[in-house]
Every structure is written in C-alpha cells, then in structure tokens.
C-alpha cells in the first residue's frame, strides 16, 4: 500500500475527554443519578472495546452492562486521575473474566479463525468483512501488543493505556512502537515521494 507524501492524518474515535470530566465524576459521586452524562459519553466506546475483544454482540452487551454496574458501585472510591482509564481498566477485567468463562465453551473453529496469521493487505481488500481484517492483523501481534493497540484504537492516550494495563508509560511507548512496526510490515505500507513542482517546465 502506498501513501503519498508525509504523515497521514489519524481519524481517532472519541479522543477528547473534555475539561468537564472531573466535575461530572464529582457530581456522580455525590448523586449516582448524575452519572448519566458519563454513561452517555462512554457507553459506545466501552461497548466497542468489549465487542472488539469478544466478537459477539450479546457478549459485548453483557460485558458493557457489568462494566457500568461495577463502575457505579465503585465510583465513590475513584480518587482522581483519568476516569476513562479507570473505566477501561474495569472493562479489561470484565472481558478477561468473560474469556475465562468461555474458554472451555468456545468452538474450536472460532479459535482457529482468530489465530490465522499471514494476511496481507491484498487479502484484506478481498475480504468483505473489514473488521475481521483488523482482527486478523492484530492476531499477528503479541498479546501485550494487541492489548495496547486495541486500547489506543478506542481513543486512549498512551499514559491512559499504561494505567489500564498496569504498566509504565515507557513500556507502552515501546510496545506500541514495536506493534506498529510489525503491522506496517504485514500491511506492506510504504510512502511514495511527494510530487515536486519544478516551476512548470
């Protein structure tokens, strides 16, 4: 795949958390009915994170439900920092629990489909299901790399990912760098040189 010129613009979902987040959290800590705006802000990102991990709408809805139930129950004990990171940390644990529950139930074919390596961009282009293309790409990564990239795709900053996975920010930086290098090789991303205007010869 060729990309012309310098760096490509990133269209990241749900990036900005806004300056009002601390106030929203404080209000919800005083009165749980005030949790509505936070729920509205994060219901879809949390659902998407759960769906990306579990690949099943119903399982993702169950996980989303558990995440917000736990968040509401534990909100009084949230002491600051990134609320988004805190919420995604809960989601990560809930999803892990779901995986444990499913481990012995999942059909073998599903595991084989997830782990299939070696897809190139040409393969992806031929695949009508683009989500599955991303999943196949991410299956090339180590579990740590995959976890970091999936959280970054949900819009979390590097420091927030560090909070979620319980590692240092430096570790996240190195891990995401290695992951993108690997994905670049898998996807065959190259950059074509910019066309230079020579003054109209």
């Amino acid at each position: 795949m060729g990309v012309q010129g310098g760096s490509a613009k990133i269209q990241a979902p749900g990036a900005a958390t806004g300056d009002d987040e601390a106030a929203l959290v404080a209000a919800a800590q005083r009165d749980r009915r005030a949790f509505g705006p936070l729920y509205a802000r994060y219901a879809n990102p949390i659902f998407k994170y759960c769906f990306a991990q579990l690949r099943d709408r119903q399982a993702a809805e169950d996980a989303t439900s558990l995440v917000f139930t736990k968040a509401l129950d534990g909100l009084s004990r949230f002491h600051g920092g990134s609320f988004r990171a805190w919420l995604f940390a809960i989601a990560r644990n809930v999803v892990t629990d779901q995986f444990r529950a499913r481990r012995f139930d999942a059909p073998l074919e599903a595991a084989a489909a997830v782990a299939a390596p070696g897809a190139t961009l040409d393969d992806l282009a031929a695949d009508a299901d683009r989500d599955r293309g991303v999943w196949t790409l991410l299956a090339e990564l180590t579990p740590d790399q995959r976890q970091v990239i999936e959280l970054r795709l949900r819009g979390l900053a590097g420091s927030e990912v560090a909070d979620v996975v319980g590692r240092s920010h430096a570790w996240v930086k190195v891990t995401q760098f290695r992951a993108i290098q690997r994905l670049r090789a898998t996807m065959g991303v190259t950059v074509e040189p910019k066309e230079v205007d020579d003054g109209g010869a």
Partner: protein
Amino acid sequence: MAGLERDAIEQFARYWDAAAAGASDEPDLADPTLAATVSRLYALEELPDIDPAFQSRLEARLLGTSVATVGLPGTIPLPMAGHDLHTSHNGRTDAQPWRVRAPASTRPIRPGWSLAQLATAALLLLTLLGGVIAIRSATAPRPPTYLEAAGRTEVETLVDATIVGDPATAIPLTVERWTIPPGSATVTVPPLDGPQWIVAESGSLTAAIDGARHELAPGASLVITAGRTLVVGNAGQEEASALRGVASDRFVLEDYDRAAIRKSPALHTRAHPALPAGTSHLLFERLTLPPGAILSIEPVSGRDWVGVVHGRLGLTLVGGAMPTGWQSGRTREVGAGELLPGLPVGTQVSLRNTGNEPLVLLRLRVTPLAEGRS
C-alpha cells in the same frame, strides 16, 4: 536500546498522542510510514455501534430512569421471562446463552463395571484419601503468623515506619502512583496536615524535604511528617515512577502541574478515615505470587488493604462481618485497577494467583499504637 531508536519511539508516542487528541499541529514523523500504518488501522476498523435500545435499557436499569422517557426509535420492551429463556447480565432475556459443547461420545452407553475395575477404583480412592489425610495432618497446626504462602511468594517491605496522624481525629488516607517524565521540572507539595511517604519504583527520583535533597533509587523510601514541604523531581533521562501514600484532609484539593507529574490510583483505601488519631505503625508491602500460589492474611487492625498491581487475584473472605456486597466463603476474581474493600478484623483472607503470570499485589496495614482523643 539505541539512542536513535529511543528518539523514534518518543517521537512516535508524541505524534500518536497529539493526533489522537485531535491536535492540529501534531509533530511530523521522521518515518511517515508509521503514521500511515496507524491511519490505515483506524480506517480499516469498523466496529458496530451500541444498540440504542440496549443503551437506553441499561441506562434505565443503572440510573433508575424510565425507558419510555428516552424515546429512542426502535426501543424494544423487555420480553417477559419464560421457562425456556435465560436472563443475561444486561437484563435482556436470551434464548441462546453461552454455548456448552459436550464432546461427542463414541460410547453412549457405559457398560457395567467389572469386579476388577471396582477393586481398582476402591484402591485408588483409598490412596487418594490417605494422601488428603496426610496433607491435612501436615498443615493442620496453622502457624500464628499472618502470612502463609504456598510457592515462592516474595514479600518486599516498602515502608515499615511509625507515623503520626492528627492528634484528635482520624483522617483519610490514599495511595497513588506518580509518574514523572524526565526534565528539569519539579513538583512542590506544600506542607500538609498529615504524613506522607514515597517509594521509588523506577527511574532516578529526587525528593527534597524542607530543602534537604535525597536521591531515591528504585525500592528506596522516605516518610515525610506533617508540616514539611516536599519537592520531587526526575534527575534521569527515563521516566521515573513512585508510589506515594498520603494521609490528609486536604489531599484531594492538591493542585499540580499535569505536565510535570501524572497521578493514578495505586491502592483503593476507600474514602473513609483510614489513619487513626495519634501514632500508628504503617506497613506497606509488595507481594509477588507465582501462578497458583496461595497466601493467607489475617487482618488484625481493621485497617488492612490489598490492591492488584499486575495479574489476576482470586480473593476469598471468610468471616462474620463481610464488606458490603461480599459473601463469606465466596471467591471473587479481580485484576489491576479493580476495587477491593478494606479487610475487616477477624476475617480469614485467602489470596490466590489465578492467572498464568506472576501476581503482584500492594498491601497496606495501619495499626494504631496510641489512639488520640477521638
């Protein structure tokens, strides 16, 4: 790691953070293919959105609002539960719960056991029973110590000190993680009304107490009494991190430069007065349990907390006075960042590493030595 690669990693991290935050002036990368890869990744991923009907149903359940007032098109009423339906977590009925696949049996009808098979089974049962009795007799006299570990559990003492709280009243206590980027910036914590302590985790941390400068290698700690000014910094080229505990009525009001320091919760001590009035003994430990290891803790003060740093913890509490939402004898599995209650006096606490990686825990115990006037 070579210097050039380190620069590339830092540059890429800055780029992605800036771009993801929607900054219009994100830095250019020396290698534009990295940015192109990230951009392509975002473009390829098309996950489905949350179902609005489900979202409104869940909101109604969580917040006690009426689904009808949401007024979203396509809202589906909750079906009535039937005998052949299964309820899922989100309150929706579900005709197809997790699939349980039983392996196809090649011998659907089990033949009757022969006498020889019965004798073998009886012998096996006796052997197993003997083993259990032997193990029980070896472990029955539980030592009076508060730790009992199976496997190579490591216990690092991070802080073991006597601290002085408010003379009259108990005050809140919290433990957080500070992350300080390299650079010349320092963070000044003005004098507080309660004690605090710092444990260096990584990097080259510096801490000055009323001007007296200390260099803290990873694992080193400092206890700062009330009324002192603390200045922390990072003297190295790498990010530094530290665990910081603080008992103060005012810690929640602390202001700090988010560019110079980043805070995140490290141990959820709950928002209640945790440091009693007067003098207390504080023991702050980091425990590392290998997969499968079990650790027993006997809370003695009512001011015991455990938090997961890394790994999966199976926590079992047995006793009469359970924290809210807990049942005696029931095991819950928790991971990093999840909230754990304080451990009541008299509770039998079992910590088990249920994951495949080492389980790292923080443990805090505050024992009153001389109560104040409260």
